[in-house]
Symmetry: C2
Subunit: 689 residues, 2 copies
């Protein structure tokens, strides 16, 4: 029963990370006098001056300039604060990259490409270990606080999967069965997204659509349960300050109109273009890092990028604040009490102050200033994210992508709003926007833009719409979101089919057989299997005629994972498959413990020992390690079927026979190379580590 | 492009069905004078007297007694209306059952068990035909209007799948590829649930969890798209009268409290018990119908059940109204303007009339009357639904199950509310229910009860919670719903693992291999394959030594679907598999068109004709029909793997070999029998039609 408490781990970790990030992000600006471990908000919350307007300026919270030189205004105070901001950012980033380098090299990146690969059947030892869990959690806090353009969502999925791996190591039922372990990991991935966004259903669908390779139905309920437990653990820790479950809670008061679909689709096009641009540039930069001397200085790279980010980000209020705060502000509808610069509209003095449903108003000076700052922030985010994602630190992509989309969307939204306000009589506005009505919600545009950009980068579809739907909690906006998501996917797919995760899988050369690719070519297993015509014959074992020395030589000369066992070299009739690892172990054990086993001993895989001439050495029985049911196809099997079998059964290799005679072998790598060849790609571009 | 308009079909049909049902249900009570095709609501909507209170009593709407004998009150008028109600119900039911019997016998039942079986790879010819589509749509309207205790949700899934089948018949890409056709059907099933409830995400998850057998990821997006298109087509037809998407739109004003989890879990237990009771009794009754003379009088059975239903239902207002109206009323929170009997609370005269957030009040006379009527309605619904589901008419189970749960839930809710009102000082209430506060929402209890009962019958989990979540549109109530759904599933599973659909699949003997059952026994393929020890050897063909006559005899004497082809009877080395159907066709064609083919002709499956003695008849080449890549496993393969392969690859049979020598065959039916045997069931209880 106690073991089940591990289920609470992802939610708790996410809560702790949120609290720590809040505190450390604010530490870059100042410190709380009453208790240094309070964030700005907590510090002022406990202060006595709780009038709504002054809450931001409570005396207990001191900026660094106030604390150090007792100045709160003026150029020197500004410069001091600026410097402190940069220093803290550099310190956090340096700590993070050092920790990752020294203790857990697998803690870097978002982890989603690797988890996809692991769930498809590949093993990366230590990738989901406890050490990775610990270091990734700590460094995630550091890098997010350092103000780099990255998010915590992808790494949270990795952290949750580490928890899941830890969980399955506690139960022998899961740790001994690779398939069951993968089911637990799928559920953990759902829990990760669930805590990242507070979207349990979206988390399950994300795990289903994006991460998991094979998703058995019984996993569905488990994933949902894990996602809910995680979401509610997080909620009871309550890092978002409101008792809501979700990260960005928004409530809009007006419906959308058919004519608005046009800007929404434009935002979709923007999202698709951004996705393409980002993937191309990021992959090119990462390839350069892999292949040139740049890759040898990861610490320096992180320091330089952090310094540039901090220097450029500080002067602009929209880049200085944390990215999730920025998104939250951009999503928000302007209420009557809103004091944000973005809500600096000119109010009609004749109007009584309503609570909801404020009609469209002309923009004030603040809004125009905000537009300029947002435009600069947009360019900055686009450029810096390309260089940030892929550095040797934990880095997620959801939040920066959403920020780019939200900025673009809010700008478009304000534009449409002002156009509609000043040109009520235009034919496109006349039908739905009377003077004095609240027709356009710029926050909705920000949300649609965020969905479009996230979709362009990750190519998520259903889970994306559902996550956004859970954020707003209204079915009303599902059509705008879908329109943007579909457009974005179409536009991005037109330039290249791969999402960022698949692109990174390719870049790293993981053997990943994508379930989404369709294979429709008419090739046969015989075209793909090895040995090809002219190649030396397959390395096989015979069932009762090879000596221990023969086998040891074979093992030494080849690096195959295993060897088919046939009746004899002449008949080539397949009887089973022996793993390299088990062969080595069995021979080693036999040589040490079994008497009479020498290099000349005959090894046999049959039930009965073969008839040997007198005074030949004692034979070695190895039937125990023989897999008597290796997976076979005939040479006439269409490759379409073979690919299907590899995918659905998660095979690593498959033997090819004709009427029981062994002809060759097809490995997963052969299948991948063949698929690349058929898609007119260079098969050698698929590297394997 | 025009073909894609088929996508609009499910939504449109659902809209038409809704409108027709509204009209015909009201026709049992009276008729609209201005236009006879108006339902009660439409009739009064267009009338001039549109004050809110009198809208139900507009002069244009005439009850049958008013129209026929010009009396609206009194015993004779009541009896006349009663009789008309019964007559119309009998007429509708008779028409429905006759149409089904004469034109489309497959149109009966809910159709979900059959669709599950079809998606698992079994073929029922005509089950998804256009004729079934038409008749099922028409008769669905008739039976729902007749007032029988059944719903339209299951049949709508069948109707949507017929549309999907029609759609795939338009594109050769889908009609020629069985796998792609199944993907379209999965998407159609999602669209069906989507229109039934207005829950697009729930529809997709229902299709995933309950209906589909193998759900490839690319189907996900298609299903979601189909579900959305269907939902919005339905919305633009707008049958529910409000511009909401969902069937039962509710908005609650108060949160739930931890202490309320106890009654929610009690409702879960009730749901589980109801599920068990219903499945047991319904299956027993259906078995009796199948095996006794009862099954020979389907029309009479429907007439009798309809008559009994109408006679008992009319006097009770909660059973007289349509079941979906009843559920809607039970789900609703009592607002200030509510005139329903269920909302007859005693108002505090000192209180101003608020719009929302009405505090708990003592129950009035109306509420107590309603409680009695609801109790009677509960018993009636429980009994009559058992006899209704499975008759030879279209019948869904969602709505009656939800009604049972909603009635029970509302009663529990009112009980808790009154307890809390009168006993504020009890320790369990003291923490969360101060006097004058709105603590208990009886409508929420109805919703939780409905979820629990639906879960007990169908054993849905995630999709159930999501459908309910989409109905309320708030994440707040996800925990009560989950608690009830999980409890209900646990309780019901304790009495028997099968949901109602699986039970009906078993009853009808469809070869369905459930993906949810785990197979963990240590048997091997050799234990399951046929021929068993002592049985005659397998019927095989040899590659070049059998005559046409030999094969014709073999075909005549056996009824196997196909025959393995081996090199010779001595070596028994497998070279392929020949389908019975194609063999018959090939021989027939050859005898008619090819010269020199006589009964003595040798049939050969090799590339080259065998060497024959001179003046032997012309041989017949059949390599073309030989499947050169039959699926094989070795005799040592664990049955766990075999079951997995059958499931994931949707096989119908699999050959068993050892080193290429054919040993036997395993069919899907063998696998099913073996699984039943291992689960200590009588394997003969699995009948196959």
């Amino acid at each position: 029963m106690l073991k089940w408490l591990v289920l609470l781990l992802p939610g708790t970790l996410a809560g702790v990370i949120d609290l720590a990030v809040d505190w450390m992000t604010d530490l870059k600006e100042g410190v709380c006098l009453s208790a240094f471990w309070y964030s700005h908000e907590q510090c002022c919350w406990t202060s006595n001056e709780t009038t709504f307007e002054d809450r931001d300026k409570c005396p207990l919270w001191q900026k660094w300039s106030e604390l150090l030189v007792n100045q709160s205004e003026g150029a020197s105070a500004y410069i001091l604060n600026y410097l402190m901001y940069i220093l803290w950012a550099l310190l956090f980033a340096f700590l993070a990259v050092s920790l990752v380098r020294v203790f857990a090299p697998y803690a870097c990146g978002s982890g989603i490409p690797e988890i996809k690969t692991i769930l498809s059947g590949f093993i990366i030892r230590g990738y989901l270990g406890k050490w990775t869990l610990l270091i990734k959690t700590v460094t995630l806090v550091l890098v997010v606080s350092s103000g780099l353009s990255l998010g915590k969502e992808g790494p949270l999925v990795h952290v949750a999967c580490c928890c899941g791996n830890f969980f399955s190591s506690l139960f022998s039922k899961y740790s001994k069965n690779e398939g069951k372990r993968r089911e637990v990991l799928s559920a953990a991935a759902a829990a990760g997204v669930s805590v990242a966004f507070g979207a349990p259903i979206g988390g399950v669908l994300f795990s289903l659509e994006e991460v998991s390779y094979y998703f058995p139905l019984k996993t569905l309920w488990r994933s949902f349960f894990a996602a809910l437990v995680a979401a509610f653990t997080l909620r009871s820790i309550n890092p978002f300050g409101n008792s809501r479950l979700v990260l960005f809670y928004v409530e809009y008061h007006t419906p959308w109109y058919m004519a608005e679909l046009f800007p929404f689709i434009l935002l979709g096009v923007f999202g698709g273009l951004w996705g393409t641009l980002f993937i191309r540039c990021n992959i090119a930069w990462c390839r350069r890092r892999k292949t040139t001397r740049l890759g040898k200085y990861p610490v320096l790279e992180v320091i330089v990028v952090t310094a540039i980010t901090a220097i450029i980000a500080y002067p602009n209020p929209y880049t200085r604040q944390s990215t999730s705060e920025l998104i939250s502000e951009l999503f928000n509808d302007c209420g009557a009490l809103e004091s944000s610069q973005l809500c600096d509209y000119i109010n009609d003095p004749n109007m009584t102050r309503p609570v909801d449903d404020i009609p469209d108003r002309p923009a004030g000076v603040g809004v125009y200033t905000a537009m300029w700052q947002l435009a600069l922030a947009l360019i900055f985010k686009i450029v810096v994210t390309i260089f940030t994602f892929g550095m040797k630190i934990p880095s997620g992509l959801f939040i920066p992508s959403m920020a780019v989309g939200a900025i673009a969307g809010r700008m478009v939204g304000i534009g449409v709003e002002q156009l509609a306000y000043h040109h009520h009589d235009w034919i496109i506005f006349r039908n739905w926007c009377r003077p004095g009505a609240d027709c356009v919600t710029p926050g909705l545009y920000a949300m649609v833009g965020a969905a479009a950009c996230l979709g362009g980068v990750t190519r998520m579809t259903v889970s994306l719409v559902v996550i956004m739907f859970e954020l707003t909690g209204g079915l009303e906006y599902i059509v705008p979101l879908m329109a943007a998501a579909v457009t974005s996917k179409w536009v991005a797919d037109a330039f290249g089919k791969e999402g960022i995760y698949e692109a990174h899988i390719h870049l790293n050369g993981y053997p990943f057989l994508d379930v989404k690719d369709e294979f429709t070519h008419r090739t046969l297993a015989t075209d793909v299997m090895r040995p090809r015509r002219g190649e030396p014959p397959l390395s096989v074992l015979t069932q009762d005629s090879m000596t221990v020395e023969d086998v040891e030589t074979l093992i030494k000369e080849t690096d195959y994972n295993g060897f088919p066992v046939v009746v004899s070299r002449d008949s080539e009739r397949l009887i089973g498959f022996a793993q390299r690892r088990e062969l080595i172990l069995a021979i080693k054990n036999a040589r040490q413990r079994q008497e009479g086993i020498v290099s000349n001993s005959i090894m046999y895989f049959t039930e009965e020992p073969p008839e040997l001439p007198a005074n030949s050495p004692h034979p070695l029985k190895l039937r125990r390690i023989l897999n008597l049911s290796p997976f076979t196809v005939t040479d006439h099997t269409p490759m379409e079927t073979v690919v299907d079998i590899f995918r659905k059964l998660g095979l690593r290799q498959c033997l090819v026979t004709r009427s029981g005679r062994l002809l060759g072998i097809i490995t997963k790598k052969d299948v991948l190379r063949h698929m690349a060849q058929m898609a007119n790609q260079d098969p050698e571009s698929i590297m394997f580590n």
